[in-house]
Symmetry: D2
Subunit: 376 residues, 4 copies
């Protein structure tokens, strides 16, 4: 177990380094019969691609995905789905600065300690490009969830101290600005702040929020494989994520029970306001973020991931080299002043993979439903 | 995979319900040769036991642990270590109120949705008593880590809005107050606040912080099994945890790269100020909380878990019953006004289990070390 | 991963040593709603209990099982089912002979090499008593399969060179003789042969065969988790098993394709000769033993496990002691002259656990069925 | 878990269909620092390649492997090693015969039952070409084991009823004949027999034997993850394998304890007859095939896998089509009259992957060795 395999029933394996021959993923356990095409995957990959705005790096990666197996006549066959993106931009470069010097905030030092040496080209395995495999697999998971009426939607909640307002929140708006913020005014302020960061050769952090709508109650396993616990691992496994919240998160630690508990009630309307056939149980509020005891309760799953600032900054920083000498480093090249916008689709991917896996796992929780499944 | 198994090499399986015959755990994968006795385990269990102060429930549980296997002549044999605590307090009770009514903030509703019915006695499997198995296993993990020079220490960082001050921080102080707070003044204020909560028939949340000292660099797997990602799952798997942070956590999302990056430097002193044989690489600050790229960097691991308020409160709450009718519920019996103090040792247990597992996994990362291990 | 956990969705963890405090198992992942009682488990345990005939050891073990969790009001709740059998017969014994001397054919030497020391009392963890946990868990799996119309039946196929004849085969007969042989005449000859073995202070091996009837087509995963591959591991994981066959097994290696291939045809009768609603596809023969490409094909699964002779024999044997000196050993006490009869129920248990796990896993293979399951 | 992932610490994921874009594998968990090149992998792949003799199919596959990640400057980095072989021979073909008709002895019917439809081109995922990924990964495992002094060697033991003789056994000879038989005379007779099979439009089975030399004692986990149990699964997971034996296998079931037990003794010579520094414990015989209690005992591991005859034969066979009608099928094209020679390297690959994984797992069995590893 060296960390590049994720999931139990829907199991993915990612591979590839920033400046190697390519990046890819194998998805094992996708049910047979799901319609999927390279264009579906590419749509997701394009959302994490650099060079889309002045706040993302201009390297032209292409990132054209190829599906190599597991899909036949437009549908998944149940066999592993191998997908890969070949690196186009592999020209020999001068890695002198980062080959022997440990960049602060990066994994150079820890990789050397763990493995004895490392592929130093562009960050190697610890590069943000590693997420290409996650996003390609996540696109499959999103398609699978969609076919079951479940939608996963992530967006930028904050850039530095600038946060969206739920008064002017519009899920559609996130497609209209380069920061994927669902609030046009906040996005404008955030863009100005990022300009300032770039001028100061500095960077900043931010928060991604994700909502999962349509998930039935009963998903997630008690004790160690709680839905929120698995989502926490999914989020913190994304490079640069330093915090996770479900529902009210850290605010709940300052709240009182009388205010934090979500009362149950009955409703005769579904999520979109349409009348239901019969009354169903709902929570009147959603401080819990959609889980109780680690199991989905039928309301929206709401989670957040806190991203640290981009560690690659153009200002000089004190550090140490492989030879154990103190030195300075100025990181050259163009780097995003913030990780968050390109990470939005990664959050969506990881959330979708996690939820899809737990959804499949939940099918074996009740004998009556298993008997019905096998017609016994 | 129904969620009661945790870990890869150090694998534990917990079992038991609040008012069933007992609670237990089986630890598979503990290396042979570790000295362990029931008293070692009991010390940890006593820290989570109720009835220790006016802020914890008065039920007399006993919680005397019995080791049933895997230990011979005082040392672990490499075979599974089964430990159990029999429930003494099993007298027939009146569960009328919670048998058919869904308590807000509890898992009653989601268990019914998932399994079709539930053991409603005292919360059944979703009771806080489930953590007995975790703590017993965690005690073994702590002993294992200690034998390798690694110490895991958790404490109460905040109660509601009352937070410890690092100016008056004393790790020893946490043993002196009933809230396990390492700051005597904050503890006094927190106790007063909890008295107020009890008087108002309400409850409150809080934050547990945990420091892991002595962990060598190189622990944690890149990509999906990052040290911090695994710790996130470990923490959020604890009932009532709604948020997780490593290092600066959510504050990092508001920070700048120039301030958040930890510079590397050289030192000739170890953690306790003793001179080292040769200079070694250290980080000058620890905003990252001890990991880079998900791998330990040799500095302290610092993490936090946010606990929601105790959901069981004596005030009346609106809810629904199993028959699908709206109703009110007043939760009887004595309940802790806060979960945090008894959860401190659970955080320690889960952190220790996670770190020990990843430590063992890390042994196979380098061929040169494997060859040395097998004398080749 | 230290080997005492088995299964993916239906996951069991066994614990306990021959002369420790007890033996037990935790079953995680059993679907909720299955009727189960201690008497159900005990029936299976009684079949592996010693002291039932002159060919099994006379130690009085009791082996009374206690269910400690996971069952409420007579049905499984979906929570882990902990079961244990306390060892009654723990009086201090003289283990001098086996404490320091490596018994040929036993795991004494390899345990010492692996773990540095061992619980030498009665074989410790490598004792046949370890199978108590498997059988208790297997009883649950058998009940689960029964509720889905699937029957697992093992029996003694051969004792030394004495093999059952399919001309006089009677599945019911296996309950009538102490060797669980479904052929009365073969059983009589086998008993005489065993008498001879005992007189010669020797032992012998034999073969257990197992038939699984009623398994639907489509169970088992292609490539690495084939149904027959998983059954092979299940069987060879039983102490003393040295070989595994599915269908024609090693005879297939001497066969021709024209004779070994099973033709497909149509039938309008089910397994018991009752008319079917519509014609269904069947194999005309079953050389394959019920699998094609590692996936069940709807016909009977037929497998065999070869057991070596009981290694504990009363005759003197050359060996070495812990001090690295050559010596002789005569193994005292009463030992079964053959392992097979008591292993029949262990084969059944392991087969049932394996099939039940793969059956649950197979539920997520097709999107159309998943959509139907979730009513989408 | 859909079956295309194998291993715990050394974990591989294979993908690809017979007539899809390619076949590949990702190896996660290979220790850093192992020298590896595409030529090392290709050597193994060439051994399973068709078109090498008149007994193997003439399709020109190329099978040129490309390493896409995880190797830098000629050595493994600890990151996943992705390897792939693109299918060159993808011209449109007429699959009419097998598209709708279930071939006896193949997985067509069971794939349809499991997944609802299948990639019928050349067997799709259940084709023998699937083993390319196993062999590429196995080559890495073999290199890893070699670096630790462990050699895995498989060969053809029998073709139909023609078996090698240990009197004329020569491990080198297996490279001299097209059947990989280590006995020139047996090979000559086997070739004549295969000519006969081809003339009769029939096929035959055979047995592959594998010897693992140099494995230290202590490898393999007691109870469920026994070395021999894991090897059994590894072997039976290979398509067409119907039986597995370790050591004396099924012959042990007909043996007596006095003859089957391996006595322990002392030796001052190593495997190659060189004097040892000090006397060490050895078994005088090796009926057990190198394991005791599922743990390696320091002697050679000896195992066998029984392969059924090639199911694709040119003679007409009765079967059923997808429409549920009875029909006949004559399988066109050139097919090997026996699977065994090309499977020899697959057996080696699966044995090496299994042993390497358990070897890495065994590193955490003893605290004293772990303390030494971490210099504590």
């Amino acid at each position: 177990m060296a960390g590049s395999v994720y999931g139990t029933l829907l199991k993915i394996t990612t591979w590839g380094e920033s400046h190697g021959k390519g990046i890819g993923v194998v998805v094992d356990g996708c049910p047979a019969g799901l319609s999927i095409a390279e264009a579906d995957i590419q749509t997701y990959l394009d959302r994490r691609r650099p060079g889309q705005s002045k706040f993302t790096t201009s390297r032209r990666e292409g990132d054209g995905v190829e599906i190599l197996s597991g899909v036949f006549e437009g549908r998944t066959t149940g066999a592993p789905i191998a997908m890969e993106v070949r690196n186009l931009d592999q020209r020999s470069q001068d890695y002198g600065a980062i080959k022997d010097v440990y960049r602060p905030g990066h994994a150079d030092y820890t990789f050397d300690e763990k493995y004895g040496f490392r592929d130093y080209r562009g960050g190697g395995r610890s590069s943000g490009r590693e997420t290409i495999g996650r996003v390609a697999a996540g696109a499959v998971a999103c398609k699978l969830l969609e076919s079951l009426g479940i939608a996963v939607s992530a967006y930028t909640r904050s850039v530095g101290a600038i946060e969206i307002s739920y008064d002017s929140f519009s899920m559609e708006e996130r497609w209209n600005n380069r920061l994927y913020m669902p609030d046009a005014q906040a996005a404008a302020r955030a863009e100005a702040y990022l300009e300032e960061m770039m001028a100061r050769k500095d960077s900043c952090g931010g928060v991604v929020e994700c909502v999962i709508r349509g998930l039935p109650a009963g998903i997630g396993e008690p004790v160690f494989d709680k839905l929120d616990g698995c989502l926490a691992k999914a989020m913190v496994s994304i490079g640069a994520v330093k915090g996770f919240e479900i529902g009210d998160g850290f605010a709940a630690a300052r709240a009182n029970g009388s205010g934090n508990n979500d009362s149950f009630g009955l409703t005769s309307e579904d999520l979109d306001g349409n009348p239901l056939m019969k009354e169903q149980i709902v929570k009147r509020t959603n401080h819990s973020g959609g889980t109780l005891g680690g199991i989905s309760d039928g309301s929206d799953i709401v989670l957040r991931a806190a991203f640290k600032p981009t560690p690659s900054i153009a200002s000089p920083q004190a550090t140490v080299n492989r030879q154990g000498e103190e030195t300075d480093i100025c990181i050259k090249g163009r780097h995003d002043p913030i990780i968050v916008p390109r990470a939005v689709v990664v959050v969506e991917a990881m959330a979708a993979l996690t939820v899809a896996d737990l959804l499949l796992l939940s099918m074996s929780s009740r004998l009556d439903r298993i008997q019905a499944f096998f017609n016994k």
